[in-house]
Amino acid sequence: MQYTLAHLKRGERAVITDVSSNLIPLKLLEMGCLPGNTVELVQLAPFKDPMYLNINGAHLAIRKETATLVLIEKIADE
């Protein structure tokens, strides 16, 4: 199964693999959401939207609809 940021649970970490969807705002890339970066889900608002992320030290909140566009690979718990 192909995971996206929207699949992350609180405290889970993953590596971003692809952000090439045309629907992803450029601003998200510019703020550090780039392939190869690790991402951690810091906090979820009620209804799991928006999502508060830590992407390689950049702390962002994005809506769930945007999160579904960012492809990831989950990092298994050590």
Binding site: N22, P25, L26, L29, L34, V42, A45, G57, H59, A61
Partner: protein
């Protein structure tokens, strides 16, 4: 020799850019609007040691030169237009030491425009706590620039920055990376078609949807024709460009930045765990909202009363000191009362912005957006709209001003338009007196009918605001990219200087810009109420004396005042609109009240007092006297004026109608046009009329 240079401060939001601006300029700054749009323009000046005057513009915070909002387009428009009088001789890019990587993105873009650029690395005081160390020499070499490492909190490094600005001509203007690398073929064709233009500049013109300076537009139009790639392909290239820039930045930071995580402490994690929590987060936010509401509603009360009384005594003093006459009346009742009417808003504005500045400065406001976004987006509002909507329950003026913190223009406009529906404190005197008059005694579940009615009016106001937002969101066709990517900055202790300047600036803006409109309208209203045509007005005293020969002096004065108001221009207007308000259950006396209370809702009570000739009654008994007068008021046919039907109709009218010139004035200032306040006036008062009409016809 004195000469002036233009300095532009550029940088991401939350980098302390405004602190740098405040540190450089102090109070030598002014805030206005960019012509034709509602983006705040902050400029100021400072003297450099060689006597040069630096004219400093604090450009809106932006993450990159790819604009996604009006604020950001302002930055690009200025940087692409060499003929603009503000075009910078030197750009100062402000970065936060904790977010250096992301903050350097825009730096590499500015470098591609070949403008002399200084890099400021701010918040140096936090380096130790975060385990960060920098090799400034290596960074300067890799980034091709001079760096000022400063701390606006500890006030260090500012002099070094000034020296670098002074020496701007020695800066290297070579770009950090070659933008043509992202698609050499395409860029070669571009530069062949448009010789002598910077490739990055051409690239920005192609990819950005912004207005450019008139003079260079011709060149740009040709570039438009050249657009040989689909939007999707261009976007792919922009993504590639961004990735390339980050590769460059990562390489630079490998050489110049080391972070020792073992010494880093993180307050953020602990605070966020509570402040963005599903339960505690909301609980804390509502406590803060409650405090804010209390501040505007209660704490601002005593200073407001003090200002109110001071102006009233000044008006009295002028009246008693200067020779009686038209000029003295204009001065005391028109101008002084009008200025007083502007000044009374200073305490609530100052209190609200004290809170907002603290919330913004500390980084907490982003958490509010995080918590409230899900709910508010359903109504086309921003998470930040909560602040105006709640503070609107105290007073719409500071609330509308608070909407400026909303970045998205459509969300901001909707917030401004619906905020006046919330129940401000000026409605309270009107509500209280009418409820006391028409709502019967009795209780339901332990709450009296009167209290329930008052609560109902508050709820109606808030719901109308929310529903109108929903409707406006559907019908307003405003292009705005409203995707939601919000930075969650680290928590900081607010800088006193920044908070103080914000409060001062907001107050000044209100007094100077909205104030003149309010003053003008209040003088017009004063004139209409103090003058009238013909015998009735000019001879009021004699006419009343003849009609009621046996009155004592106070009673006579009251009767004369009442008769004069009735015969004044405003009285004539009130009578003229009677046919229109009859179906709502009102008579001409209420009509006069409606006209005068356009100045402010609470004026309604005072006007009725004058009309019912109880103007000079003892203050303590004032309300009861008016009430008893109102209770026995009858129409010509002997039926009572204030019944349940007409009372409810009047309550609903005041709940919806835009009866506040000060709100209109501030909406004009905040939307930079008369269009929106006029639409607001028409829509709100139209709605008020229809609802009051239905209520009266249904209940009577």
């Amino acid at each position: 020799m004195s000469k002036q240079i233009n300095v532009a401060l550029i940088g991401n939001p939350n980098t302390g850019k405004t602190s740098v601006f405040n540190a450089l300029t102090g109070l030598n700054q002014k805030v206005g609007n960019y012509p034709g749009i509602t983006v705040e323009k902050k400029e100021g000046s400072c003297k450099l040691t060689n006597g040069t005057k630096a004219h400093i513009i604090d450009l809106p915070g932006t993450y990159s030169l790819n604009a996604s909002s009006l604020d950001e387009s302002v930055v690009i428009e200025l940087l692409l237009n060499k003929n603009d009088k503000d075009f910078p001789d030197v750009a100062v890019v402000v970065a936060d030491v904790e977010n250096l990587k992301r903050n350097l993105l825009i730096y590499t873009q500015i470098k591609n425009l070949e403008i002399p650029t200084i890099l400021v690395i701010n918040m140096a005081d936090r380096m130790e706590k975060k385990g960060i160390s920098l090799d400034i020499n290596a960074l300067e070499k890799e980034l091709n620039t001079k760096i000022a490492l400063i701390s606006t909190r500890k006030k260090t490094g500012i002099d070094n920055l000034k020296a670098l600005i002074e020496d701007y001509q020695s800066l290297n203007t070579e770009p950090c990376l070659n933008v043509s690398d992202i698609d050499p073929d395409y860029f070669k064709r571009l530069s062949d078609a448009f010789k002598n233009q910077l490739p990055y500049k051409l690239w920005l013109v192609i990819t950005q949807d912004v207005n450019f300076g008139k003079i260079e537009r011709d060149t740009f139009n040709q570039v438009e024709d050249f657009k040989t790639k689909s939007e999707a392909d261009l976007k792919k290239l922009q993504q590639k460009e961004t990735i390339k820039r980050y590769q460059f930045i990562n390489n630079v930071l490998k050489k110049g930045l080391t972070v020792d995580l073992s010494t880093a402490t993180d307050l953020r994690i602990k605070l966020d765990r509570i402040l963005t929590h599903k339960v505690w987060g909301y609980a804390i936010f509502f406590v803060i909202l409650f405090l804010m509401f209390q501040a505007v509603y209660e704490w601002a009360g005593p200073p407001t009363d003090l200002i109110d009384e001071a102006f009233a005594s000044l008006a009295d003093w002028v009246k008693n000191t200067l020779p009686a006459g038209a000029f003295t009346n204009l001065l005391s009742d028109g101008i002084i009362a009008g200025v007083g009417g502007v000044m009374v808003f200073i305490p609530p504005i100052a209190f609200l912005f004290l809170f907002i500045a603290l919330l913004e400065e500390s980084g907490y406001m982003s958490r509010v957006v995080f918590l409230m976004d899900n709910l508010m987006k359903r109504f086309g509002l921003s998470g930040k709209s909560v602040v105006p909507l709640i503070s609107g329950n105290a007073c719409a003026i500071p609330a509308v001003m608070a909407a400026r913190n909303i970045e998205n223009w459509k969300e901001r406009l909707i917030t401004i338009l619906v905020t006046p529906f919330t129940t401000c404190s000026a409605r309270l005197p009107v509500y209280v007196i009418i409820i006391a008059l028409v709502i019967p005694e009795g209780s339901f579940l332990g709450m009296s009918y009167k209290a329930l009615t008052l609560m109902g009016l508050y709820i109606i106001g808030f719901l109308t605001a929310i529903v109108s937002a929903y409707i406006l969101n559907k019908i307003l066709k405003i292009k705005s990219k409203s995707y939601f990517v919000i930075e969650m900055p680290s928590y900081k202790v607010p800088l006193f200087k920044n908070v103080a300047i914000t409060v001062l600036e907001k107050t000044k803006t209100f007094v100077l810009e909205a104030g003149k409109i309010i003053l003008a309208i209040s003088i017009i209203l004063w004139f209409l109420a103090s003058y009238g045509p013909g015998e009735n007005f000019n001879n009021a005293e004699n006419i009343v004396k003849t009609e009621y020969p046996n009155l004592d002096e106070t009673e006579l004065d009251d009767k004369v005042a009442s008769f004069k108001l009735e015969s004044s221009y405003i009285g004539i207007i009130g009578k003229a609109i009677e046919p229109a308000i009859r179906p709502l259950g009102y008579d001409w006396k209420i009509g006069i009240g409606l006209v005068t209370s356009f100045a402010a809702r609470e004026v309604f009570v005072g006007t009725l007092a004058t009309i019912y000739s109880v103007g000079s009654a003892n203050d303590n008994e004032d309300e009861d006297t008016i009430k008893s007068k109102m209770a026995v008021e009858t129409h010509n046919n002997g039926t009572k004026v204030f019944t349940l039907a007409s009372g409810i109709s009047l309550l609903l009218f005041y709940a919806f109608a835009m009866q506040c010139m000060s709100t209109l004035a501030i909406v004009k200032r905040e939307t930079n046009s008369w269009k929106w306040p006029l639409i607001q006036l028409g829509a709100m008062s139209g709605l008020a009329y229809i609802v009051a009409l239905i209520a009266y016809q249904f209940l009577k």
